[in-house]
Symmetry: C3
Subunit: 325 residues, 3 copies
Amino acid sequence: FLGGQAQSHGSLLLKCKPREGLIIKTQSGATPLWQTSSLELWGPPREQPLFPEWQVPLRVTFALLAVTFIYTFLREVLQPYLVLNKNNFYKVPVLVMNKALPWTSITLLALVYLPGLLAAMLQLHRGTKYRRFPAWLAGWMSVRKQLGLLSFYLACLHALYSLCYPMRRSYRYKVLNWAYQQVQQKKEDAWVSEDVWRMEIYISLGIMTLGLLAVIAVASLPSISNSLSWREFTWIQRSLGYTALLLGTAHALVFGWSKWVDPAQYVWYTPPSFVLACLLPLSVLLVKAAMLPPCLARRLELIRRGWERPDRRTSLSPKEEPLLT
Amino acid sequence: FLGGQAQSHGSLLLKCKPREGLIIKTQSGATPLWQTSSLELWGPPREQPLFPEWQVPLRVTFALLAVTFIYTFLREVLQPYLVLNKNNFYKVPVLVMNKALPWTSITLLALVYLPGLLAAMLQLHRGTKYRRFPAWLAGWMSVRKQLGLLSFYLACLHALYSLCYPMRRSYRYKVLNWAYQQVQQKKEDAWVSEDVWRMEIYISLGIMTLGLLAVIAVASLPSISNSLSWREFTWIQRSLGYTALLLGTAHALVFGWSKWVDPAQYVWYTPPSFVLACLLPLSVLLVKAAMLPPCLARRLELIRRGWERPDRRTSLSPKEEPLLT
Amino acid sequence: FLGGQAQSHGSLLLKCKPREGLIIKTQSGATPLWQTSSLELWGPPREQPLFPEWQVPLRVTFALLAVTFIYTFLREVLQPYLVLNKNNFYKVPVLVMNKALPWTSITLLALVYLPGLLAAMLQLHRGTKYRRFPAWLAGWMSVRKQLGLLSFYLACLHALYSLCYPMRRSYRYKVLNWAYQQVQQKKEDAWVSEDVWRMEIYISLGIMTLGLLAVIAVASLPSISNSLSWREFTWIQRSLGYTALLLGTAHALVFGWSKWVDPAQYVWYTPPSFVLACLLPLSVLLVKAAMLPPCLARRLELIRRGWERPDRRTSLSPKEEPLLT
């Protein structure tokens, strides 16, 4: 019995591949996809997981979205309601959402570049590259593409939500009320130069960040990335990616402007969203900057080319061998 | 002579394929595309149709766009002009256009999921899956991808048009006039809570729908869909697709809000656009919901796995055979 | 020793290809990309250029962006500052940027279609197609795809910048000040019919242009363009492309409206941006229109099918031969 079981399992794996190929070909033709599903009887007994390489990144994304959403909700809706007796619940569908989205987006983008820096630090510390990374670091590095695409996706949604702001009724009524007040106060000019500058720079930086992320996302399409050389692919992911992270962080910092030191922003003794959102990207950028001086950069380059610190050199490692295992 | 003619026609078909390959390769190089066009002398005598699988979906799209555009034009521009003597013709390039676009978009999205439901009902009625679908249904099912992509395309244009609203001069002048009136009426607060909520939810649902449709559209790029397993591909098309249809319909219903029962909306005894736009998607969603209870879902699952109702079972059908014909 | 060196260099070129394949495959797996970089020791001694076919188009784009940015800055920021003592520097990040972007975009789009027209004129003048184009023209024609994609990219950024206009503080304060003035002047209606029409048509044309360019850009993705026939590919690039150029030029002309003849627009005796931006696209469209009458079109068609003007016919050119060289 066990032999038969093993045999049928063996043939399952063989039948599994042609089945998928067959169905995918059929599907593009006139024959409907699921007319062929009687083949499921011969299919694998346990279903394969959907998008295995997306599971962890998606969970991280949803967890971050939930945390940032709740944090913003507590600060911007619940606190005014409980303390000031002000009904701000209309802010939930758009304004609270649109604080959770960019916060999660820039955190994910920082998480794309953090493992590479950790790996570099580990290599510098070890003085060799011929030792495996810990499993969590290797796993993290293998989902950087997914994290980056999710970051771009949330950045697009953030852009759409932001562009909708002046379309909302709440914005229209606010503008009308401001106009009414301005007339009542006989204030001829509403212009606040600082606010104008803050917003113009903020918008410009945001669009540039999104534009760069779009290039990186397009370059990760299989049909595009296959046509790129290895150097071109890493150049896009590294140079454009770090520039996008830099611009995105600047975008968040300009949004904050001088509110960092404004006590009114610290309701319930909690810092505003943009302060927390900036911490991780800023750290990543600072560590990256710390690695740029030639003394460190050259040593890292040597290690990556195969050089080993004398005390770390093992007698039994010809340089290419780890690649063959 | 006729023999020679037939022979040259025969070789035409053979030469046709390498010709295309040759030109496509040449085109990416420095040699301009049409320098090679002398080969057209040897080309097929009759031209192949452009985008054969897009012809019907495009015709359906343009027909729907024309009907919805004219319907909106009659109700929102011609009726006020004839009855109220009000010149609303400025609405044609943006506002009328932007009612035809989402209406057509959601109709196309419903048309993506309708044939699958019809096929399921037919299978349940027949009690077997070993009979061919009528030609119109098979043809319809084979253009679902095109209908879905056109729906996404129009949804993107709808988003762009909507985002442009507050940028228009007409909107600016309206806001200025409202501000003027508010000052004249000494109304301190313009806030209409219901309108605020309607718009915030409307916008949030719209962006989520567009975001889901974008994922489905990207997953239908050849280089992406080829890298997906059959289960992953159908999961995206089915789960995300129905969710997008649900959110899109909710988006339209929230846009309508309570105008369903507002007699002022029924000019010339015609219902407003969003009422008509919702009918088909709502029907599709209701039929889908009616198929979800286990009694029906399990029977359908069995039929699709090859089970047949006893009275329908034919003696001459081993289960895989229809696939080989 | 030298012989060994030469030998290893010779094998370098052979090893170069599999190395790239190896790394690209490794990269998608759990093994991090640069763990394999010890192979760089065996890599080619000189680095290959990054994106060789994008170098010239990118340089053209940045040069055009710089020129148009400076031109707009001088006219719209520096002139008011020096002559009228008016501080418009807040316009630099968004408004000046958003004049340079569309100007460069439409210029690049015109540069996509100009070389084809020059080539056609050259062929008509020569009376044959069996002579090579000058190197600059052949080179220009080979980067049309890159120019077109850059044009689309800048058009997307232009759309994003434009959609941000009403979101800016500067716009809000202006609207509030206008509302204040309207109340002061007791002007009940701010409506300027001409401005309303100008903007509605302007926006509608802009979105249609962007929509067409998006179709062309998607069709140039490798995995899509490979699935298109030669006729389909050229139809998209030619028909949709010229339509997009036509709509884009109309978009710019409608933006200008009657400002062509408004002396106030000609500060420092320089024409406004849209006048200069329209010149090249208009010329391209006019030349294209001049080629449409049957007398010219039929002759060009004949030449492209291999016909030669009698005085140009060379005795030693059977028609297919140039293709084989």
